[in-house]
């Protein structure tokens, strides 16, 4: 997978997280995975289809998801209820929208699916014939991994 696909997501995640969480955001080291890998507990998935195809996963621990949703709503949220899910969905929406704007400017044409939220323990994600690049982002509320698997349509 070409690194240029992931940079817009990293940049946009940094900007959006900084704005909605009002805190210090740190970017971790990028790494590559080609086999199936564990998912932390709450994952928002957005699909891409067009000149490029694949998916972006925003992956975090349940505790981090609750803290992030609490910060974004300005109130203490303690259960994975509809509001928490709607908040994480919206976070994924905002990050993806900003990244896609950049990719469109670079000339890539594709559409997005609305985010789907997965919650549970011991989940794994596998992508056939496409490697995933992962960038961990550290927020005051916990880690979010941005996991991008995109390829050019053959």
């Amino acid at each position: 997978m070409r690194v240029e696909y992931i940079n817009p997501f990293v940049e946009s995640a940094f900007n959006v997280l900084k704005e909605v969480l009002q805190g210090d955001i740190k970017r971790g080291e990028l790494y590559l995975k080609s086999t199936s890998m564990p998912v932390m507990g709450v994952a928002a998935l957005v699909g891409l289809a067009g000149d490029v195809e694949g998916r972006v996963l925003f992956d975090m621990e349940k505790a981090s998801a609750l803290k992030i949703a609490s910060a974004m709503n300005g109130e203490q949220l303690t259960a994975m209820d509809e509001l928490v899910k709607a908040t994480i969905t919206e976070l994924a929406n905002m990050i993806t929208a900003q990244a896609v704007t950049k990719l469109h400017e670079l000339g890539f044409r594709f559409d997005l699916t609305p985010p789907a939220i997965f919650t549970g323990d011991n989940m794994e994600v596998s992508d056939q014939d496409v490697e995933a690049l992962i960038v961990p982002m550290e927020t005051p509320q916990g880690k979010i991994e941005i996991n991008v698997a995109i390829r050019e349509r053959g």
């Binding site: 909605v20 949703a69 300005g74 709607a86 919206e90 929208a97 900003q98 896609v100």
Partner: protein, 145 residues
């Protein structure tokens, strides 16, 4: 005994959500995200606006607008929604009431749709993530006209 007049008034500013006659501006929120609807509601009610209804898709928004009319001053309209999208709902509302004041709420990257919405009669737009200042400014600029 002290009366109200004995205290200096610290906040002379009238809440922005009030009309000159002292009644609140009445807002219809159309958004399928519970988070965004709640965020807009919190920002608006904190300034004295009255959120009369929250519709979860464009069709419900359009039907609610017709039902509330003329007791409705402003609509905030999401763009991507199930059943009927924000652009179609906007067109239907404008068809019904050409003076309707509709503000589009958009994610970044929907410039084409925002342009179409402005051509179709939307009065302004706000790009997410929403913040208090941005939302209140856009509403005021539309209601002030």
């Amino acid at each position: 005994m002290k009366t109200k007049d004995d205290f200096p008034s610290l906040n002379e500013r009238k809440p922005e959500g009030m009309k000159p006659d002292g009644t609140p501006w009445r807002v219809l929120i159309v958004d399928d995200s519970m988070f965004v609807a709640k965020q807009i509601t919190q920002i608006l009610t904190s300034e004295g606006y009255q959120v009369v209804h929250t519709a979860a898709d464009g069709l419900e928004g359009y039907e609610k607008y017709k039902e509330l009319y003329p007791n409705i001053d402003l609509v905030t309209m999401d763009i991507t929604m199930p059943r009927m999208d924000g652009l179609s709902a906007l067109q239907k509302i404008i068809e019904f009431d050409k003076n309707a004041k509709v503000i589009m709420i958009s994610a970044l990257g929907k410039q084409d749709l925002v342009k179409q919405a402005l051509v179709a009669g939307a009065k302004n737009y706000i790009v997410k993530p929403l913040d208090r200042k941005k939302v209140l400014e856009r509403l005021q600029s539309v209601l002030g006209k």
